[in-house]
Symmetry: C2
Subunit: 348 residues, 2 copies
Amino acid sequence: MSLKATKILKHTPSVIASAAVGGKKEHEGPMGDYFDKINDDPYFSGDTFEQGECQLQKQSVLHTLNKAGLEATDIDVLFGGDLLNQCTGTTYGVRSFEMPFLGIYGACSTMAEGLLMSSLFVNAGYADKAMAVTSSHFCTAERQYRFPLNYGGQRTPTSQWTATAGGALVVSAKENPPYVRACTIGKIVDMGVTDANNMGAAMAPAAYSTIKEFFEDTGMSPEDFDFIVTGDLGKVGSRILCELFERDGINIRDRHKDCGLMLYSFDEQDVHAGGSGCGCAGSMLCGYFIPQLRAGAIRNILFAATGALLSPTVNQQGETIPSISHLVWLSHETADDLSDTNSAEKEN
Amino acid sequence: MSLKATKILKHTPSVIASAAVGGKKEHEGPMGDYFDKINDDPYFSGDTFEQGECQLQKQSVLHTLNKAGLEATDIDVLFGGDLLNQCTGTTYGVRSFEMPFLGIYGACSTMAEGLLMSSLFVNAGYADKAMAVTSSHFCTAERQYRFPLNYGGQRTPTSQWTATAGGALVVSAKENPPYVRACTIGKIVDMGVTDANNMGAAMAPAAYSTIKEFFEDTGMSPEDFDFIVTGDLGKVGSRILCELFERDGINIRDRHKDCGLMLYSFDEQDVHAGGSGCGCAGSMLCGYFIPQLRAGAIRNILFAATGALLSPTVNQQGETIPSISHLVWLSHETADDLSDTNSAEKEN
C-alpha cells in the first residue's frame, strides 16, 4: 500500500521572494503591472529566439535573488525546466550561476513541480535555500511545436498563445508568508485527446485527478481556499475542469482561476482560447499570487499547473496526449493548528 | 553560505531491486549476460523507433517490479526522463502505470539524478518505495541529434554509440545491501567545447567537478572505493577525467570504470569512442553494479553519470555544450560507523 500522494509539510517553508519577467504582449495585457521586468524585444538583444528565452530565465533568477537579498552562491539547489527540446532555455539560461542544479521536466506544470521539489527539499533540511525557475517564449515554442512564424499559419479556435514570460522563486525555512503547507504529486493521465491545438482539453483531466486527490487525502474542500488556480487550461480546459467536478457534486467554478485566462485580454489581444506555456503559470504565480498571499490580500490557494507531455514527433505519429498536474497549497497562515494525523511524513 | 552539495543519507536507504533491458548489439557485447531482457527488434514490435524506446522504459519498470515483488500501486513516486524531445520515451512508456510521477531532465546523467532523488525522498520519509527509470535508443537518438539512419553519415573518431538500453530500480527503507550512503548534486559546467560529436570531452569537466566536490565535502579519497564509475565519457572523456585528477595529484585511473567503455567490444563492435546515452549508465548500474554490490563482490562505488545539456537547435546556432554530473555513493555496508559530523542534513 503506497503513501498518500499528498505530502503535508510540517515545517511549512516560506516562499521568501519571487519575480516575473515578461514580453511586450504580456505587458499590454491586464496583468502587465505585475511583472518585475518587461522586454519589448523578442530576441532580448540576442541573435536568436532561443537566446531570448535563456534571458527570460536569467532575468527571473537575478530579479528573485535581488529581491531576496541573496547571491547565487547562497542557493543550495536550483530546480528548472522549460518546453524547449532538452530544456535548453534553462540549462543555457542558468549555467553561469554555478548553482547545484536538478533539471526537471513537467512541460507547463514545471513551476508547480519546481515549487513542490524546492519545498520538499527545504522541509527535509536538504536545502536552506531552494530555487525554482521556468520560462516559455512564443517564438521558440511556435516554431518548435507548430510552424515557422513566417509561414503565418492560421490558428484554430481552441489553440492557445504561448506566453513569453518567466518566473522564479526562492523557498526557505519558515519565516514570513506565504507558507507552503502541502503538495500533491500528480499522475500521468491520458484521456485520448490527439489534437495538439487543444491542449486545454488534454490537460483538464490531469488537473481534475490531482486536485481531487488533494481533497480526498486532506479532507478539505474548495471552500477552504480563496482560489483554485490552474496553469493554462484556457477557455476549453477550464470549462471541462469545472464540469468534471460538477459531476461529483463539487463546485469549484466560483473559486477557479486559470492563469491562461488572466494573462491576456480576450477582447483586444486575439489569443483564442487563452495563454499557455511554462511561463504563463510561472509568471502569474511569481508576479501576482505570491505577492498577494504575502500581503494577506489572498489567504489560501491551491496552485495546480498542468503539463501536456507530448512531443511533435510522437503526436505526428498519431499518439494521444498524456498530461500531468502537480499541486501546491500556499497559505498566508502557518500550520500551527494543523493536525499531525494528516502528516504523510515519517518522524526522522 | 550554502549547504554542502553532498548530502549524507543518515537512514541509508536500500536499492531493493533493479533491472536492465537491452537491444541486439548490447546483447552481443561483453556485458550481454547482465541484461534481464533482450529485444532483437529495434521497433520492439511497434511501428516506430519511438514506440520501441517506450517499450524499453516499460519493460525496465515491469522487470524491476517483478524482481521486487511489487505492484505499480506500491510505488509512491517514480522519477524518470530520457533524451527524446519532451522526454516522451518516459512519459509514453510509463503512463499506463498511473504512479505519482516527477519528470526529470539530466540527459545521460538521468539515472544518477533519478537514484539521487529516489534516495532523498525515501530518506526523508516522502516515499516508502521510490522508483527511477531511464532509457536511450540508438535509432531515436541518431535521427534526433544527428542524421536519418538511411543517410548513412560517417561517424567521427570521437563520436559515441547511443545504447539501446533501459534501466530501472526501486529504493526503499534500509533493508539489505546495496545502501545509498550519500549523494552530490552537480553544477552545470561549460568549458567551451562545441563539437557535438565529442561529448566525452564536453562532459569530463562536469564529472571532475562533482567527484572532486564529493571528496572535499566528505574527506574521502579514491582509495575508499572499489570503483569510481562514470556514465558515458568514452575513451576521450575518460582520459580527460583521469588527467584532470592527476593535475591535483589524485590517482583515480586505477579505480575508474566508464559504462561507455564496458558496454561494447571495441575490437568487434565498431563503436568508436564507446557507448553513450541514458541507457548506457542506466543499464550498467541496474544490470551489473547493483547486483554485484548486493552480492558483496563489490563493496563501494561512486556512481557519477554525466549529461551533455545541449540541443541540436542551439548547437547549430554555434553554442558551446554545458554538462552536468550527479553522484551517488552505493555501498555493501550500512552507515552505522558513520560520524554524525559529516551529516549535511538538519535534524528534523
